[in-house]
Symmetry: C2
Subunit: 238 residues, 2 copies
């Protein structure tokens, strides 16, 4: 049920009145985790967190279940939930899976996208290029993610979209934490342009191939950043 992963503004642009506390708490916590306000590996006390969020433990615990399903936090019996630490080893796996899924989505999207879809995508691309030129980090980041989600939506396959959603938040978190160090902007913008062109040409094979490559590259770039930063978190599981 998490919508587009957007760090800046709220999850649902429209009618964000009508959602329960668990939903709101989950959304709030998700952005906090993605933005690194809740540091990886840290423990969360239910009582303290519930007070800081202004809700009681009951809805908070329900929110936890949701975040655990997204693997943003780790739930262990009778222990404090732990903010999942993005371990370097998991990055290749994550982006490998994401690349495969987005490739599939792009192939479908090339067939099924309406002209309206493509138009919106082009608008996003233009806006992103603007943010790139102006060096607006956060906005660029935000639009970038939105583009990926839009392509997946264009595939008109709800289950595929859902599978994507469960993975994307973790990827966004990793990307956000490496925001400053990412020196691949210009390549990334170009790659997006190529993907958009392929989609507009209704060339599913090309769109899929390019998007896959793009995501794979993003993954390896991130991996290098983390490796050099020695953000290595070994963290055992049992």
């Amino acid at each position: 049920m998490p919508k587009t992963v957007d760090v800046k503004r709220a999850r649902k642009p429209l009618k964000l009145k009508r959602m329960g506390l668990p939903q709101r708490a989950a959304d709030r916590m998700r952005t906090m985790i993605i933005k690194g306000e809740l540091p990886p590996g840290s423990r969360t006390q239910e009582t303290q967190l519930s007070k800081s969020l202004g809700v009681s433990r009951t809805p908070l615990r329900e929110a936890m279940k949701v975040l655990a399903a997204e693997k943003l936090i780790e739930l262990r019996p009778n222990r404090s939930p732990r903010i999942a630490n993005l371990d370097v080893k998991g990055i290749p796996q994550l982006f490998e899976a994401l690349a495969g899924i987005e490739r599939l989505a792009a192939e479908f999207a090339a067939e099924r996208a309406t002209d309206n879809d493509l138009q919106r995508l082009r608008t996003l691309q233009t806006r992103m290029e603007g943010f790139y030129r102006d060096g607006k980090l956060e906005d660029y980041f935000s639009i970038n993610g939105e583009i990926h989600c839009t392509i997946v939506r264009m595939a008109r396959n709800t289950p595929l979209q859902q599978a994507h959603e469960t993975l994307i938040s973790r990827a966004e978190r990793a990307r956000y934490l490496a925001l400053g160090a990412d020196r691949r902007w210009s390549d990334s913008v170009d790659e997006h342009a190529g993907i958009l062109a392929a989609l507009e040409a209704r060339d599913g094979e090309a769109a899929g191939r390019l998007l896959r490559l793009h995501v794979q590259r993003t993954g390896t770039a991130l991996l290098e950043v983390f490796a050099s930063q020695r953000l290595n978190n070994p963290a055992a599981s049992p």
Copy 2:
């Protein structure tokens, strides 16, 4: 966190002592939904269900959140949760997505599977063929699903596996509901054999192609069953 989808025995073959009530309630409800004991589209009263499961409403509500994430139930504000009705329109989408993911998994599995993995897979295949010859419906069904999950596990990609898990339970439910009408057993067994052979030959491309085809065929076969049975559930969403 739901493991292999298995209708007969519990989710965790080992150490199923140490899990909380929400987990147990979710597992119990999941199998009930898959087996059709909780009919599609029906409404679930928290109080009544909690009494029938022997737990209080709090852990039950947490279980609901988990099942909602798997899209097995639908959660609407201030309304009784509704058992998701597998609408015929969703079937193609679901199996389309599943086919893509399992294909990807098979490609990785062909590279990464250990000899031990392949051996276990062969054992499962043999057992399944036995159940097929003996006409043991439920056992065949169970092993079949286990084979698919095993292949995905063999891809050694946790996020991919997780994406698969979120989708597979719905597919299993559809398959289970069409169990009696499925007249495709022998084809299915042969296809599995072919996939296994490709994996043993470390031919990722072939394994992926065959598995994708297999899942697609399963989907279309199911679609025909439901279409003929007129299990058509129009059910609006807003």
